[in-house]
């Protein structure tokens, strides 16, 4: 299994005016192999979505590099770059309500990519749209309807069809199920799983539902305040977290099992994720960390491999 896409010290800051900068994504390095699913978790404000968007070029890179199939992608995309890369990389958005244009029919939304990127006749476009509507579990006659006529789960299927009709190799799924009910979440996850198998997709799966990420992903990456703190096989990270933050995050995830929940000691930590504006030096988790050492406040820990294990952790305690 070769590498498909690699982020090398990918950085994205947002200027807020004055001397203030939001360190949304700070030197994140992550390699995703072909047909692999990497789950990215973390609290809101940890930079998960910004990382996904910067990886695709929807945000300009402040620093760092993205390498796709051995080729370095431009720092800032021009229209021609989008034209070229849109058929290789796509995104599925979180909110199925605001991510579909309410004035376009479903057929226009799904077929738009084909019209823009391939010189196909209208009837060919229509055939493919119909084909995709059926693949995602909708019907051909849904083509002429508008997004408001569909439920949340159906809209997310439209969003999936829109992203996948160009047959991309790499897809960023940004919280694709968090707006959906439990029974519908399973429908969408299973659909993504089937399509991943048949099309050989590579996915970056961003979500905050830890149980679902563990279920879906091959590897799990944990982000905190713009940097990656832990990366490893999904099951291993979930059942044997090494970074104190991962431990807290997983310890806070309620399991649908009363015996487990009632027997569990409260692992909740005090405080909230700090502002990513002008972050302090040292480990970013230091002021909330239950196991903090003096060195944590001075030196920033690097994301390095744990001895004898297939795991990367950024923590002074582990190295």
């Amino acid at each position: 299994m070769g590498d498909l896409i690699e982020a090398r010290k990918l950085t994205r800051f947002f200027d807020m005016g004055g001397n203030q900068r939001v360190h949304a994504v700070d030197k994140v390095s992550l390699t995703i192999g072909e047909t692999e699913i990497v789950g990215l978790v973390g609290e809101s404000g940890s930079g998960k979505s910004t990382f996904g968007k910067t990886l695709l070029g929807l945000h300009d890179k402040t620093d760092g590099e993205v390498i796709f199939r051995g080729e370095s992608l431009p720092q800032k995309y021009r229209p021609a770059d989008f034209q070229k890369l849109a058929t290789k990389m796509q995104m599925i958005f979180q909110d199925p309500y605001s991510s579909l244009n309410p004035r376009m029919t479903v057929g226009e939304i799904i077929g738009e990519g084909l019209r823009l990127h391939f010189s196909l006749s209208p009837s060919d476009v229509k055939d493919q749209v119909v084909d995709w509507l059926e693949k995602v579990g909708l019907q051909a006659d849904h083509m002429s309807r508008y997004p408001h006529e569909f439920s949340g789960g159906q809209r997310q299927r439209i969003g999936i069809a829109r992203a996948l009709i160009l047959e991309p190799e790499f897809v960023v799924c940004d919280e694709p199920i968090s707006a959906l009910d439990v029974s519908v979440q399973a429908q969408v996850i299973n659909l993504l799983g089937e399509l991943k198998e048949t099309m050989g997709l590579t996915l970056l799966f961003i979500a905050h539902d830890l149980s679902m990420v563990r279920y879906v992903s091959d590897r799990m990456a944990v982000m905190y305040l713009g940097s990656l703190v832990e990366l490893g096989k999904a099951d291993e990270v979930y059942f044997n977290p090494k970074h104190p933050y991962t431990e807290v995050l997983i310890g806070s995830n309620p399991e649908p099992d009363p015996n487990l929940e009632k027997g569990r000691a409260s692992t909740s930590i005090q405080g909230e994720i700090p502002s990513p504006v002008n972050v302090p030096s040292g480990c970013r988790f230091a002021n909330r960390c239950p196991k903090v050492l003096d060195v944590c406040r001075e030196k920033t820990p690097e994301l390095i491999p744990v001895k004898d294990e297939d795991r990367l952790v950024a923590c002074h305690l582990v190295s």
Partner: protein
Amino acid sequence: MKAAEDNVDSGTPLLTVENLQVEFDTYGGTVQAVRGVSFSVDQGQTLAIVGESGCGKSVTVQSIMGLIPMPPGRITAGSARLRGHEILGRSTVGGKEIRGAEIGMIFQDPMTSLNPTMTIGDQIAEPLQIHRGYSARDAFTEAIRLLELSKIPEAEKRARQYPFEFSGGMLQRAMIAMALSCKPSILIADEPTTALDVTIQAQILDLMQELQKETGMAIILITHDLGVVARMADEVAVMYAGKVVEYGSADDVFYRSAHPYTVGLKEAMPTNDPARQHELKPIDGSPPDLFAPPAGCGYCPRCPHAMQICSDRQPQGHDLHGHHSASCWLHHAQSESRPETLFFKDAH
């Protein structure tokens, strides 16, 4: 005095809701949002009402609180009794205001449920002045104490700030402080942690449990998250299409699930228990249209075990053991089908 009152009423639950039915007039017709909901909750207990969007769980508690706008809403049948006194359609019981004083409520989105033009302290002080006759100064002092109780650091400074200066987790703490200001006997929490991260969710749930231990209040928790239910609930009511389809203790509902919908929900979500790993099994289809509610069981079109009678007639609640019950024809004495995934009365 409160203790004496409780003594008189010992034996009757704190709040009993029976056969509640609520409908709304809309341009598209009449929606029967709640179609006969019954449950009860005792002092110091937590009842979780769980279900998917549109199942009527929020409308149920809003009716109890008197928060349903009428018109277009209408409570067509049923009763809700607080210590034996009817509260539906009334604003006071025994001289005490129901809303705010007897029952406190917190909402899913604290940002939009608080007044952006008032300081947090003033908003918490307001019910104390209205319901308890505090002076403005005393109420504000009490507000600071309540913020401390909700574990808001630097409460005195925070009380003078506006909602936009608070994070989501802190706002939910402030909402809890406000809801508890008049020492209600029941706290209704409508998806209190849905908008929060898991770490903050854990903090808020811990806080609610702690305050419940201190005050002995009952909690009615509305959620769609079975993990939160497992963590918090003593009793669980599973709602579907405006009805309670399964009701019982948390152990009953999780370990002896008797309704196909409850089983469906569990199978649709991943578990982290290594012994119970399974493929995700979605529930196909979608809930029925409540503009024209089905004649039979609302879950019938999505149910893997549906029988002929399910689409023709409403199932009645069948008692299983204790107060565990399920509304499903499979539990009827004449039903020959006994799917293995479900719990049946004669199975133990």
